[in-house]
Amino acid sequence: MTEILKINNIGKSFSGVTVLKNINFSIQKGELHAIVGENGAGKSTLMKIIAGELEPEGGKVYLNGSEVKFHSPIDAIHAGISLIHQEFSLVPQLTVYENIFLGREISKKFFKINFIDKKAMKKSALEVLKTFGILNIPIDSKAKDLSVADKQLTEIAKALSTNSNLLIMDEPTAALTLRETELLFSILKNLKAQGVTIIFISHRLEEIFEIADVVTVLRNGELVGTKKIDEVTMEEVVSMMVGKSMKSRFPEKPIREISNEKMLEIKSLSSDAFKNVNFTLRKGEILGIAGLVGCGNMQLGESIFGLRDFKGEIYLEGKRVDISEPIDAIKDGIFLVPEDRHDLGLVLQRSVKENHALPNLDLFSEFGFVSSKKEKRSVRASISYLNTKVSSINQKVDNLSGGNQQKVVLGKWLVRSPKILILDEPTRGIDIGAKYEIYKFMYDQVLKGVSIIFISSELAEVLSLSDRILVMSEGRITGELDPKSTSQEDILKFAVKGKES
């Protein structure tokens, strides 16, 4: 094997805060190299340095044996490196195929003037998607109208179509369900067979053990070690990541009797994304809603929270409620942690403190004036509860690592006492230590009598946490399962029901 990339003594700091120290490691040609580490460990920063988006402080980068200095992402792309970002970088107003060819538009000449050839672009985009088996993306849709998973697949297609020989993927599976993840893995195996080198970041360790050859662990900006995947166990990787051993990924489920008291009743709810949905959520219950991308569970959650129009009836503790705006839901004690944190969860240019306070200002203010004391106390409490890594509570949310941004979104609702929490992918992009904390938080809540609607594409966590699982397919509920006697395969069976026909 030959070395394709070598990193020598690289460091990086932002406004005086060191986030990477003395990083040394190398990547062999044709291997699938996983990078793992807690939120804020410096994974994305390191990848941005390799892809020419950030300049390192000191140290050297060697590509195919010779030193390279990238001053912009274009330099890296020309050198055959492409990076799929953790946060999406699609242009919202452009279609899927325009995004795939962004910056490399196909043009045709007409009286010596170059015009963009949309037809040809669309055709080549379809070919790219077909070669990689990505078939279900609505290619004419604008990026802003795509689901998170389709956005992710578009990003992947965009990177794949550049024919790079070093492909870096920063948490590509965080937004994907099992099915798309498997599709992605088969694409990756294909690319590997063609000699493409892949760097892959994920917080889902099973994935790493399924697909990677080598794993490198970062902790607090330092490189802890690089190991061959068949010479290491998952427990060892975990303890390298967190610096101590972790007995289990899931906290023990509290033994409790769920009363028959109905907290929420949904009666014949319909919209353009789901049809005739009926279910009951009991007090203190965790109700999992599983399904493939586009099955309508995200839209269902957002509708109950008042973000989308729907027809049908919602009863809260036996009383009919009228929810047409999020403010109505919040007043009724129904809160949502949305799927897409950048779109619905955060005001990126404002601080951690202000984001935390935004839905809670009524609690922190008197006569309309914000009490800085109450606000600070609350944001500090939620940061320490979730172990959020911020340099100060006045740091812009935009400058936080992806997982820490997610913790800010979750932390906002820790302040209030909810009746119902709708958690849509609450652990997306979150490291295993913090996931454990979130699971514990969910159990704390249900023991207090809060009911949780738990939407997740990670079947292991749905199975472990839920008291009952609804499976959706094509906007309809196709099955109700008892997690005690259910396997991941059973869920998938119901998730594709009605799809094949």
Binding site: S15, P326, L336, V347, Q349, L358, V370
Partner: protein, 314 residues
Amino acid sequence: MASSNGFIRKYGVIFGLLGIIIFFAIESPTYFFTSSNFILISKQSSINILLALGQMFVILTAGIDLSDGAIAGLVGAVAAGVTVATGNLFFGLLAGLGVGIGFGIVNGLIVAFAKVPAFIATLATMSAITGITLIYTQGEPIWNLPSSFDFIGQGSLLDIPFSIIIMALSFVAVWIILERTKYGRHVYAVGGNIKASRAAGVKISSVLISVYAISGLLAAIGGIILASRLGTAEPSAGSGYELDAIAAVVLGGTSLFGGEGWVVGTIIGGYIIAVLNNGMTIMNISAYYQEVVKGLVILLAVMLTSFGKKYWNE
């Protein structure tokens, strides 16, 4: 290094103002660098700063108010007209402020409910309001204002011109509202991410309507001071003020994309424009050239701050 960018954006404008002051102080120490001239500059800037403070609310929500100069003109005429007609200053002021807030609310309703982009909506109302002013005044200035009316723009309290006091009070009020209240937080949040704000329970339409109403109110105060200072309500008095107000806000570092801004910056932006006007007049530069220089300074300042953003905000 994001902080150095923030630093330049935030404090660069202060150094800009100091630089301009030092330049004129060297060029004209006897006339420019005197305390009476600084009071004059403050007086000259007060109307623009009042409009800019209102404009800032709107720009923070990623909108723009092109009609605030027109509102100032109409309000000056209405306040003067009603004062003359009723012989009562109080009625005149009330009518003026009411008209300002009213047209502000109209702007807000168009933006919030008809979902017309702010630029188009306020361009249309600017034209309509200018027309209404001409209809109301029949195109003639309103004379014969009582001396109580003139006091607002010409009088002093303890040797400080009354218009400066109004400007200072407005600044303090705006600072408190934006930095210390729940409402201020909502304004920043709506401008930063309207969808996330809605999902956090913010009433988007109330925020949008109110920022235009505030802009209307501050434009009304500015318009009354303007008419009072001139001692007559000219139908075209407010024209062009909207551009100076926008310039002051942008010079002060407020992002036209919304969500980010600094009240102190807006005041400094207003002073930069006033010092430039004043200094160039003292140096006997013709008014025609003054406009060109002002344009270039605004361009330079905005280029520096946005260059800072691209270059440093890695």
